[in-house]
């Protein structure tokens, strides 16, 4: 349990206790005495109202009244939003259309004016707690229904729901047993929000003189305090406490909601600040003559609760025009290594020792501004999901031109346009596509655009992280041929990262096999293929049956 959640629960719990037990311990809040507006102290811990009523006694009863309305509205609004959000989304089709239209209409019709109109038509003596709660619930459920609907739509398409249907589960069981438990955090957060909103709205209504006639709430208390000119008479003890209780209760519930949000979306948690970015150590070995990138004894550690040594003493040398394959399975540290080379790793990842020498300079020692100027000019990257690597809301042109604008500020706008068209042509994409948005291109086309972007500044090194994994075999073949051709024409070096060892054997000059952060074998592609030394390399090789190899060797 986080600190926020503890604090939120404790504060909210205290206020609930105050409302539950308080009225039993204090006297009658309605008793009128001739000691109006006494300051706090003595018999009246929080002083008295203008008619000499005890403020503390009133406060306990008012808190109880407000909490009760909050609870009533919270339950009713959550039930309504569940029915319209969850059931509609699961049923789909016309039911969903109608439910969703209804929720959206309810959402855009402003709530308080509607409540005021309704309250205005209902005679004051008929405005009870239940009436007010019902009206607040009816005007307050729609936003939650929209959130629940979106989430249910996403859950409905999960494979585990499909699997439950294939098992023969009935619809109500699929909703209640498979979907609902996964919605609990969101339902809880919507409930908490509805309670806060109800208490605030009720206070607002009471302040306007339109609250429930039969109950005393924090809102009615404020109404009387305001009409008794509490602030003008400087009787702050009468006016401030009711508002403060609402504020603290609302704040406590917000803290609880923060914690729920963080459970739903762990990224929102505040992370520990990065202590240091990298350590630069003077390279011990002078790099080879034709080496363009030399990684020596690089170590990367994730400084989480249980530190993970993601990259262990890795040393690699990339020569001009070479394709170096980095092979390994998920979690072996190959992507962490690639990011660390360009210092793209994020906290809690930290480079603890080693050096990355590029053209005689240690990348790890560059200042932030030098690092920014180094990126893309000397070393560019192509990431796995091209759909996600391109900014979805701007056209391709803007994303290509951004690079030139930043790194070639003196370039004229027509030269920029020409250069962007030129790189697109290089990778076989029609320059007319410059105006397209990423979602208008096919997967293969997007990856070509990413490669074109990586070529813009003619870097010496390109790091490609699983650039073809998400693509079809046929498209993958085209992209691989393109990479080989461009490498031969433009003589840049490539670090190609993938789990697909056969692909690397066909494409690369040398291969480093990684497991658990270590390079277990590093040799030419031919050596790895014909004479693998490490048992893990042999195991990986055996994991890819050859299409043309002898049949039945794997089984029987």
């Amino acid at each position: 349990m986080t600190k926020k959640l503890t604090a939120g629960l404790a504060l909210a719990g205290l206020i609930v206790l105050f409302g539950l037990i308080g009225p039993l311990l204090t006297g009658d809040p309605a008793t009128i005495r001739d000691i109006g507006l006494t300051s706090p102290g003595g018999d009246h811990l929080l002083g008295t109202t203008i008619t000499g009523q005890d403020v503390l006694a009133q406060l306990t009863h008012a808190t109880r009244g407000s909490l009760w309305i909050g609870l009533l509205v919270g339950v009713m609004a959550t039930v309504l939003s569940g029915v319209f959000g969850i059931v509609g989304a699961y049923a789909g089709g016309v039911v969903d259309e109608v439910f969703s239209l209804f929720s959206n209409v309810m959402l855009v019709i402003p709530g308080l004016p509607l409540v005021i109109v309704v309250a205005g038509f209902v005679p004051a003596d008929q405005r009870g707690t239940w009436t007010i709660s019902l009206v607040l619930a009816i005007t307050g459920w729609a936003a939650a229904a929209r959130v629940l609907r979106a989430q249910t739509l996403s859950l409905r398409n999960r494979d585990y729901v499909a699997a439950a249907r294939v098992s023969g589960e009935k619809t109500w069981r699929v909703i209640c047993v498979e979907i609902l438990p996964n919605l609990l955090p969101i339902l809880a957060s919507q409930f908490v929000f509805a309670v806060v909103l109800a208490i605030l709205s009720e206070a607002g209504l009471s302040f306007l003189g339109l609250g429930a006639a039969d109950s005393s709430t924090l809102g009615t208390m404020l109404y009387y305090a305001q009409n008794g000119f509490a602030l003008q008479r400087e009787a702050w003890w009468w006016f401030v406490p009711p508002g403060l209780i609402i504020a603290v209760f609302g704040g406590a519930l917000s803290l609880i909601n923060f914690s729920i949000d963080e459970i739903i979306n762990p990224e929102l948690r505040n992370k520990v600040k990065r202590r240091r970015d990298v350590v630069a150590t003077t390279p011990v070995v002078a790099p080879a003559d034709d080496a363009v990138l030399t990684v020596s004894d690089l170590n990367v550690v994730y400084r989480s609760a249980t530190p993970v040594h993601a990259v262990k003493d890795v040393s690699l040398t990339l020569r001009r025009g070479e394709i170096l394959g980095l092979a390994g399975e998920s979690g072996c540290g190959k992507t962490t290594l690639a990011y660390a080379i360009n210092r793209l790793h994020r906290p809690p990842a930290e480079v603890t020792s080693g050096s990355v020498v590029f053209d005689g300079a240690d990348v790890l020692a560059l200042s932030p501004e030098e690092l920014r100027e180094f990126r893309w000019v000397k070393l560019s990257m192509v990431f796995q999901g091209a759909m996600n690597s391109l900014n979805p809301v701007t056209p391709i042109r803007a994303q290509l031109q951004d690079v030139l604008r930043t790194h070639r500020p003196s370039m004229s706008s027509s030269d920029r346009e020409d250069r962007c068209a030129e790189v697109l042509r290089l990778v076989g994409v029609d320059p007319a596509r410059l105006g397209s948005f990423p979602h208008e291109l096919s997967g293969g086309m997007r990856q070509r655009v990413m490669i074109a972007m990586a070529l813009l500044l003619e870097p010496q090194v390109m790091i490609m992280d699983e650039p073809t994994t998400a693509l079809d075999v046929l498209v993958q073949r085209e992209i691989l041929n393109e990479i080989k051709r461009l490498r031969d024409e433009l003589r840049f070096a490539v670090v190609f990262i993938t789990h697909d060892l056969p692909l690397l054997l066909e494409l690369s000059d040398s291969i480093a096999v990684m497991r658990d952060g270590e390079v277990v074998e590093y040799a030419s592609a031919e050596e790895i293929y014909l004479r693998p030394q490490h048992p893990y390399t042999r195991q990986l090789l055996a994991s890819f049956p050859s299409l043309t190899g002898e049949r039945g060797a794997l089984i029987r």
Binding site: S167, E178, N182, R477, E506, Y529, S543
Partner: protein, 250 residues
């Protein structure tokens, strides 16, 4: 013996023919591989056989006479293994729940859970765990056990290993192969990977743009393809043999 008969299966989404006149037969004790690129319609075929998607036209039946089958009997007979074991197990429930429910739904006792786990080479103590406590390979084995629970005779495996780490893929495929032989199952193995399709199936169907463009015994189709699309597919797969054995070192 015919275990599942698919005849003239067609599915249209928004005027687009995702599956177009597909017919084939699954037989007990044999594996049929359905290969194709993404978007070829192969997953839609799987979902129609699992009765998750309603066909636009065509029939799926358990006998060669094409007679309609009631839902419960169909679910007893036909089960499916999904592609992503991270998505096909409910994060909220234990392994026990995932296996006990299908057992109970099909008139069996939940006491069979340990035995089911053993059949997929998992230890019974896993039953109390939740999906996030398992490795990818373990999860997929649980998913296979779930498909076996109702006593199904037809298993549709939709890309069952493509989301798994490479070094454990063959293990899962070998498990499926062993179960197929030991329990005389009819298996439809759906994949984009021609190599495993060849090694783990008796017959191959190649699907392209909703149609089956080539079919036949695995070796015939994949080693000596006749359809131009199958040829391109076979030529596109990375194959280091050509570089180091036939082409010499480059």
């Amino acid at each position: 013996m015919t275990a599942l008969e698919v005849r003239d299966l067609t599915k249209t989404f928004h005027r687009h023919r995702a599956v177009d006149g597909v017919s084939f037969t699954l037989t007990a004790g044999r594996t049929v591989a359905l290969v194709g690129a993404s978007g070829s319609g192969k997953s839609t075929v799987a979902r129609m056989i699992a009765r998750l998607v309603r066909p636009t036209s065509g029939t799926i039946s358990l006998t060669s006479d094409g007679a309609p089958v009631p839902q419960r009997a169909y679910r007893d007979h036909v089960q499916m293994i999904f592609q992503d074991p991270f998505a096909s197990l409910n994060p909220f429930h234990t392994v026990e729940h995932h296996l006990a429910r299908p057992l109970q739904l099909h008139g069996r006792s939940r006491d069979e859970v340990p035995h089911l786990l053993e059949r997929v080479s998992l230890t019974p103590d896993l039953a109390r765990r939740r999906p996030h406590e398992l490795s990818g390979g373990q999860r997929q084995r649980v998913a296979i056990a779930r498909a076996l629970a109702p006593g199904a005779k037809v298993i549709v495996a939709d890309e069952p290993v493509s989301m798994l780490d490479v070094s454990i893929r063959l293990g899962v495929l070998k498990l499926l192969d062993r179960l197929q032989r030991e329990e005389d199952l009819a298996v439809l193995y759906i994949t984009h990977d021609l190599a495993t399709a060849r090694h783990f199936s008796d017959e191959v169907l190649v699907m392209h743009q909703g149609r089956i463009v080539e079919r036949g015994p695995s070796d015939d189709v994949l080693l000596r393809p006749e359809d131009p699309y199958t040829r391109r597919l076979a030529a596109a797969a990375p194959n280091p043999d050509t570089r180091f054995r036939l082409g010499g070192s480059s």
